[in-house]
Amino acid sequence: MAEVTFDAVTKRYGDVTAVDRLEMAIPDGELLVLLGPSGCGKTTALRMVAGLEELSEGDITIGNRVVNDVDPKERDVAMVFQSYALYPHLTVAKNVEFPLRQRGMDKAEREKRVLEVARTLGLDDLLDRKPAQLSGGQRQRVALARAIVRDPQVFLMDEPLSNLDATLRVQTRADIVALQHRLGTTTIYVTHDQVEAMTMGNRIAVMDRGVLQQVAPPQDLYDRPANTFVAAFLGSPGMNLLDGELDGTSVRVAGGSIELAEAVPGRDVGASPVTVGVRPEHLRLDAAGTVAATVRLVEMLGAETHVICRLEDGAQLVVRQEAVVERPALGANVRVAVESQSVHVFGADGTRLEGSTR
């Protein structure tokens, strides 16, 4: 059990900065999800905690100990790889036992531990099999078993579910959360899948191009994105972002205006350029709406319908509505109503202007 902190951690490969001054503290027992598009530096950050990559600058501490120069094996962390990294020539039992053999533990104790962990993960019938004789889900569980068998201070998981099919992924997702909760081991979990991040994390850290964008509990991240990147990245489809001009409590956009519930502090005098964000579920087609748009496409997803509209300046606006609501015709001119309580306002640099919404 230990707290993990990143202190101005930077990783450069030649001219490329993979991780840029990462500052973050992960309290003991938390499951933190590192989320971001591929190449955002999340896996590099994880590998630096494991000791598989060296830091260019900054410090990483695990349980009050700076580990920059500590050997991977001395860090007491266990990692679950995307590929599972099982040893193909060893049985399940030997694979799980592998990390224990280096620790001077006697044979009886090792076998006891392996059996315990195997029982926890429902592997006790598979102990004599080789990895090639297992299904994807079973291999995944063996990889987990190998990580938990030596009771490390920190678990590191690098997209451990991405090789599983959709159904199994949902099941395993829940299993990992339950397991982590029971063991109470600090866990850093890397994924590019926002659903995984939203459902699993105590908190989510969103990264883009090596820079940490925001760390917050899932719902906060969704409700109060710190900038336009987080706003657009989370949600499916992501938040609608429109360029506009803020003037008092209303934002002028192409084809109309959007009213705010209250003025943005510090921006209440004179007009200023902003980006205004509204989630698709906070929009509604309504003859009394304040924004004029043209219907481009209607996507039916069963329970809900996405109406994709275009404003007069070409900007796109996605409206999410229940399937039972009447669908507009393609090419129809419609008006869109905006819930003023749920409007997000971002400055010209893309960061959230405090005070907007909720």
């Binding site: 598989l52 094996k73 990692m79 990294a85 020539h89 990390p99 190998r146 030596r150």
Partner: protein, 299 residues
């Protein structure tokens, strides 16, 4: 009943069509099989016929061998040629020497090839690529080119007529290193990283994971090294001189041929004795041999 019959009709027509197609498919496959077996049989005859003739001739009297046309089957086999070859040619001693030399070379090559290949595949050090190319380039230099220098070196070291002289120049192998490196490179990087986190250093990862996973390639290196050193003629010839206690069986056969000029059947009997260990080895290891050679080539 009627409804059933009409419902079945189209299905059976359909299945008749697919059955015809699969029958055609099967026939094609059989033809291809027949052709490939025919070619393989021709190849086998070309390779085995000389060996067969050697066996037949080793059992015939010299006068019968000279007879035209030569007999293709020994009607009165002279088994005595084998003990004669064994005793006259000191084949027991020479086979022992060959076995000692080959064992040293095989073990040496396998060990050095594993170590070098592991370094090339898993360690990062300056000039790794350049060094590997230098290693590979040794494959392009025929042994005959280095023969004189090697002989000079070995003589200066005082190893003329010794097992050191016979074996030391062959204790490293560019070919084996290359083969094993390719095999090691196929081991996913995640495995070595997982082992690192589990506290395994390079030595233990190599012995516990890398080598067991590359076993087919290791076996192939061992077999090729065995074949090459067992059959080596030129180097043992120049480096063993007149010491019977280190002469290998290949040199022994040449001596036997010289002393038994009149009795070619005895020389052939000696030859057959000398290839027996090779044949046994090939029978035992043929699967590894093929797998090792095609590893990485066929996906």
């Amino acid at each position: 009943m009627h409804a059933d019959a009409t419902a079945l009709a189209p299905t059976s027509r359909h299945s008749a069509a697919t059955e015809a197609a699969s029958r055609r498919d099967r026939r094609h496959r059989r033809i291809r099989k027949v052709i490939s077996y025919l070619l393989l049989s021709v190849g086998a005859v070309v390779i085995l016929f000389p060996i067969y003739i050697a066996i037949v001739n080793s059992l015939l009297a010299p006068s019968q061998i000279a007879h035209q046309p030569p007999p293709f089957f020994p009607t009165h086999p002279m088994w005595s040629t084998y003990p004669t070859a064994w005793n006259e040619g000191h084949l027991g001693l020479y086979l022992r020497n060959s076995a000692i030399m080959t064992a040293i070379i095989v073990v040496g090559q396998v060990v050095t090839a594993i170590l070098a290949a592991y370094a090339f595949a898993f360690l990062s050090f300056p000039f790794r690529k350049t060094l590997f190319i230098v290693f590979l380039s040794t494959l392009m230099i025929p042994f005959e080119v280095t023969l004189i220098t090697n002989l000079d070196t070995v003589t200066r070291l005082g190893w003329y007529n010794t097992f050191q002289g016979l074996t030391v120049p062959f204790l490293a192998t560019g070919f084996g290193t290359f083969l094993l490196r390719q095999s090691f490179l196929q081991i996913p990087k995640d495995l070595s990283e997982a082992a690192t986190l589990d506290g395994y250093g390079h030595w233990r990862f190599m012995t516990r994971v890398a080598v067991p996973l590359a076993r087919p390639a290791v076996a192939a290196v061992a077999v090729f090294s065995f074949l090459a050193s067992w059959n080596n003629y030129l180097w043992p010839l120049v480096v063993t001189g007149d010491n019977n206690n280190v002469r290998t069986v290949q040199i022994g056969l040449k001596l036997l041929a010289n002393t038994e000029v009149q009795n070619i059947n005895v020389t052939l009997a000696g030859t057959i004795i000398a290839i027996v260990p090779l044949v046994i080895l090939l029978l035992v290891f043929q699967k590894q041999l093929v797998r090792g050679l095609t590893a990485g080539a066929v996906k």
